[in-house]
């Protein structure tokens, strides 16, 4: 029942994206509304704001989680497209392994970028 598990994770990743992308949109594109409500008063794209978020453990975790969820969701969908081309058994294995390796590599790189940002939470900034 591997397909059932993969699909369940796909839906779970979609829900995570929905929440975290919603959070991103709210913070980055509703700054005027947030300011009006008294929740935030700084421009979200200013260096100080970006650095403050990078220094927050909460935001760092959400970046990594969103990256993982988006990569899994997108790569699973891409895999489905490729599988519908009816590849042979060997090619299916190559697709599975290839997409896993590329996805994990991108995740590792993205995670490193989030953690290594100036003032990032894990750098003690």
């Amino acid at each position: 029942m591997r397909d059932r598990t993969l699909w369940t994770w796909h839906i779970g990743a979609g829900l995570v994206i929905l929440v975290l992308l919603g959070l991103h949109m709210t913070i980055m594109h509703l700054s005027a509304t947030l300011g009006f409500l008294g929740v935030a008063d700084a421009e979200p794209t200013e260096w100080a704001s970006v650095a403050a978020r990078a220094g927050s453990l909460f935001f760092t975790l959400t970046y990594v989680l969103l990256l993982g969820a988006a990569l899994y969701h997108g790569f699973y969908g891409f895999r489905n497209i490729l599988m519908e081309l009816d590849p042979g058994r060997t090619l299916r294995r190559v697709i599975d392994v290839g997409l896993s390796v590329v996805g994990l590599a991108l995740f590792a790189f993205g995670t490193w970028a989030a953690l290594a940002a100036p003032g990032a939470a894990t750098m003690g900034g």
Binding site: M1, R2, T5, T8, M83, E84
Partner: protein, 277 residues
């Protein structure tokens, strides 16, 4: 135009004779059409007048047997259930159902669909096999429980949904809307206890996971069944089972039939026609 006026309609029929034709080809036949004629009636007329070797499947002529599924003017339909007038065209293009190999002319090879259907166990799975073979009591089921699967049981296995499905068109592993819908029909039946067995039969690429929810299967179903809904319900049940959130239930218990005098408007059961072994 009065009720009895005829008009001329061109039937473009896709022909294919295995062993003779390298590729399917189109043939045009012009026939007189009366109001009320179905596409099936038109095909009989074409066969009678100009194409005696034309082959198709049909039987009941009333949309019940599911034999005459064809691609009519680009849409999978039952030939017996489609009025020529409703097509609103002077050209009726008839081809065999897509996504199946062709046996001859308009006859699709439905065997792969029925083999998958059988593999997904479209019947009640219970421990009391003897009771099913020789019933002594009734399985208890409420009208509400009946509603969970009733619409899926209207399926006549015509194959129109399979012909319309974009995933079936590209993915030979995928079971398709008819077998999946019928598997869900039994999974949703409170008398059934075969969810775990069907879950195993649905592993791999044949399961519901490749469904894109295009919804074409439900659009074309001549009986108004909603296989797309059945597949989404199946996904939900299987995910709930994975997360251990699915309500486990025992198959419906056996109960004595209601006692008392028979209502007058309900006729008595006929005599048994099968003798005891």
């Amino acid at each position: 135009m009065t009720e009895t006026t005829t008009r001329q309609v061109t039937f473009d029929v896709r022909r294919y004779e295995p062993g003779t034709d390298a590729e399917p080809h189109w043939e045009s036949h012009r026939i007189d059409v009366l109001p009320g004629m179905t596409v099936l009636d038109g095909l009989w007329k074409v066969k009678e007048l100009s194409a005696p070797s034309l082959a198709w499947r049909s039987s009941c002529r009333m949309g019940i047997c599911g034999s005459c599924g064809m691609l009519i003017n680009g849409r999978p339909r039952l030939a017996c259930n489609t009025q020529i007038a409703e097509l609103k065209s002077d050209v009726v293009a008839v081809a065999p159902l897509p996504n199946f190999s062709i046996i001859k002319d308009l006859v699709p090879d439905l065997r792969p669909m029925f083999e998958t259907h059988r593999e997904l166990m479209p019947y009640l799975i219970r421990d009391d096999v003897e009771e099913q073979d020789d019933p002594t009591r009734e399985y208890w089921q409420t009208p509400h429980e009946l509603e969970h699967y009733l619409q899926f049981s209207y399926c006549i296995k015509c194959g129109c949904c399979m012909a319309a499905c974009p995933t079936v068109a590209t993915d030979p592993q995928y079971a398709g809307p008819m077998p999946l819908g019928q598997a869900q029909r039994y999974d949703a039946d409170s008398r059934d206890g075969g969810f775990a067995q069907r879950r195993e039969a649905l592993s791999g690429g044949r399961g519901p996971w490749r469904c894109h929810f295009a919804g074409e299967c439900s659009q074309v179903c001549p009986k108004g069944v909603d296989p797309a809904k059945a597949i989404q319900l199946m996904k939900g049940e299987m995910v709930a089972d994975l997360l251990r959130l699915r309500k486990r239930r025992a198959p419906a218990p056996l109960v004595e039939p209601p006692k008392g005098p028979r209502r007058e408007e309900i006729p008595a059961a006929p005599e048994r026609t099968v003798t005891e072994a």
